[in-house]
């Protein structure tokens, strides 16, 4: 990912050096410095590649000698309605959560940017939900969601009948928790972006008598677009592989109402010990994430170039 700062040429390598260091060694220096990191990468890529390979085996805990079966797992899973349910749940989750968090995050950033007393106090505590482990956020919300004893139905006056984690409501409830955790992420990124904008265009258009909304739409949003996109990319990618708080709240249920792709893979691999099926789920999710990431990053690159142009 490129930075949102204006494009810059990397600092030139230092020219003057003590003569004792020959040129060929200087040229090797960045490689030598990166070797340990590359080794770690290889060490983590190995299980990753192995996981991808599992998708082409008939590997399960009960199978003593796994053999290569080609695309059979893919054929089975792609024709399984349960998989497509997982795809739908994952995308509903990712799209709704990302859109809600982006809109709310931009709104909160705009409100905080006025730097009133309320805003300054609130800015300090805004990030607290973001810093708690998502699984713990899930635990807390689980206690609050309980129809009989939970505090939500009591405070909202819903009685003890409203089931937050019921078949129709569970997906919205887990999205609500996502919004609670991650809206601050969007807000603080966008706020940092707003504060880095040049003041002159706004002053000029204020002199020209432009309305607040006009300035927001025609000036701020276009200039802010790269920052917003960075937030959207991070949120959308993370939502596609969501696991922690959904798992502890619903474990994918009731039925398959919140069975996202990662939870589906967990059930296949770890619960049923069908390593190949779980790996096939993950392989397909990885392809989805990879393709989406490439697309979004290219959009980001275009937006950054456009924003860099509009600033001049």
């Amino acid at each position: 990912m490129t930075t949102t700062a204006p494009p810059r040429t990397p600092a030139p390598a230092v020219q003057r050096e003590p003569r004792s260091v020959p040129a060929w060694r200087r040229g090797l220096r960045p490689y030598v410095l990166s070797i340990p990191a590359v080794l770690i990468i290889v060490g983590i890529l190995y299980p990753f590649v192995l996981g991808a390979y599992y998708a082409f085996l008939n590997y399960a805990a009960v199978v003593r000698r796994p053999v290569f079966i080609g695309l059979q797992n893919f054929a089975e899973i792609l024709s399984d309605p349960a998989f497509w349910t997982s795809v739908r749940v994952t995308f509903v989750y990712a799209v709704v959560a990302t859109v809600v968090e982006t809109v709310l995050g931009i709104g909160i950033a705009l409100l905080l940017n006025r730097s009133t007393l309320v805003g300054r106090i609130f800015e300090r505590v805004l990030i607290l939900p973001l810093m708690i482990a998502p699984v713990i956020a899930g635990v807390i919300w689980g206690l609050m969601f309980n129809p009989q004893y939970g505090v939500l139905n009591y405070v909202l006056g819903l009685g003890s009948t409203f089931d937050w984690l019921g078949e129709d409501t569970a997906i919205w409830s887990v999205i609500l928790v996502d919004v609670w955790i991650y809206t601050p992420f969007v807000a603080i990124l966008v706020l940092a972006g707003i504060r880095s904008l040049p003041k002159e265009p706004f002053e000029a258009s204020a002199v020209d008598g432009a309305s607040w909304f006009y300035m927001f739409r025609r000036l701020m949003l276009p200039m802010m677009w790269p920052y917003i996109l960075v937030a959207v990319i991070f949120r959308f990618m993370d939502c596609l592989k969501i696991f922690d708080h959904v798992f502890v709240l619903t474990a994918g249920g009731p039925g398959d109402a919140t069975r996202t792709l990662q939870i589906g893979a967990y059930q296949n691999s770890i619960i049923q010990l069908q390593y190949s099926q779980g790996s096939t789920y993950m392989f397909l999710l990885w392809v989805i994430v990879f393709v989406t990431a490439r697309y979004l990053v290219s959009v980001l690159g275009k937006a950054q170039r456009r924003a860099a142009g509009s600033e001049e």
């Binding site: 990912m1 490129t2 930075t3 700062a5 600092a11 390598a13 230092v14 003057r16 050096e17 003590p18 960045p30 340990p36 990191a37 770690i40 990468i41 983590i44 890529l45 299980p47 990753f48 996981g51 991808a52 705009l110 409100l111 905080l112 006025r114 009133t116 007393l117 805003g119 609130f122 505590v125 607290l128 810093m131 708690i132 482990a133 998502p134 699984v135 635990v139 807390i140 206690l143 004893y149 505090v151 601050p184 603080i188 940092a192 972006g193 706004f202 204020a206 607040w212 960075v230 991070f234 596609l240 922690d244 990662q262 770890i270 390593y275 779980g278 790996s279 392989f283 990885w286 994430v289």
Partner: protein
Amino acid sequence: MAARELGPGQRRFSPASIGADAALLVWFVFSLFPLVWMVLLALKTNAEQISTYFAFTPTLENFAIVLSSEGERLTSVNFTQAILTSVINCVGAVIVSLVIGIPAAYAAGRWQYRGSNDVMFTILSFRFAPELMVIVPLFVIYNQIGLFDTNVGMIWVLQLVTMPLIVWILRSYFQDMPAELEQAALLDGYTRRRAFAMVALPLVRPGIAAAALLAFIFAWNNYVFPLILTGSQHTPVTVAVTRFLGGGGQAYYNLTAAAALIAALPPLLVALSIQRYLVRGLSFGAVKS
């Protein structure tokens, strides 16, 4: 808006400003209520835990139970041990990531060498990789070579969380540092290594501290790696907390809340101390503030 920022001393009380503050307050309540509720619940006795009243006599008994053998009897996980395990795993992962990540970040921030972008993007792709794709084979491998349910095993796999963060954040700090400073040191007769140690490293020290602490938070908060790769011996806090939810039997709401509070406290305290650096950290250096 940027142009209409209200400086101190020129505060206005317009209807719009009051409306905006009111809107902020609504989010404030929504954002903090679960946390306040967790604290209240943690201070309630067993008899009060299922009541939704806000008025009660607070007790610290729950924390004592969670941290004692009484809590271990209920959950079969020693929570004090879990805290220690979390500290060891996270500190270990951060240290390894720093030792390995700082040179790589320096190389990537200072030089444009063949393959540098590939290395950096591969590291970044860890951030977006579905964890289970790595965990399932690791689960099989760990069971074969005896790394299952060990601190070394966890430290190794937590690199997936801590390494990308540290390398990407520090690269952006090294890029921001003018190369002239090191050149001046070289002209003064410093060796390259000394110029790095005496000039470059001290200048990015705040960045290193912030990146390390943020990586610590991320490692501490991770759930899916230990869920699958640890058993009962080296359970970290995120997994231990969920044990208080009970399975089918009695649920200990107040104990769960107390355990959750203990587990949530270190990240919260660390986050407040590095707030200035969070934006750059959370966006991997893509957004600077």
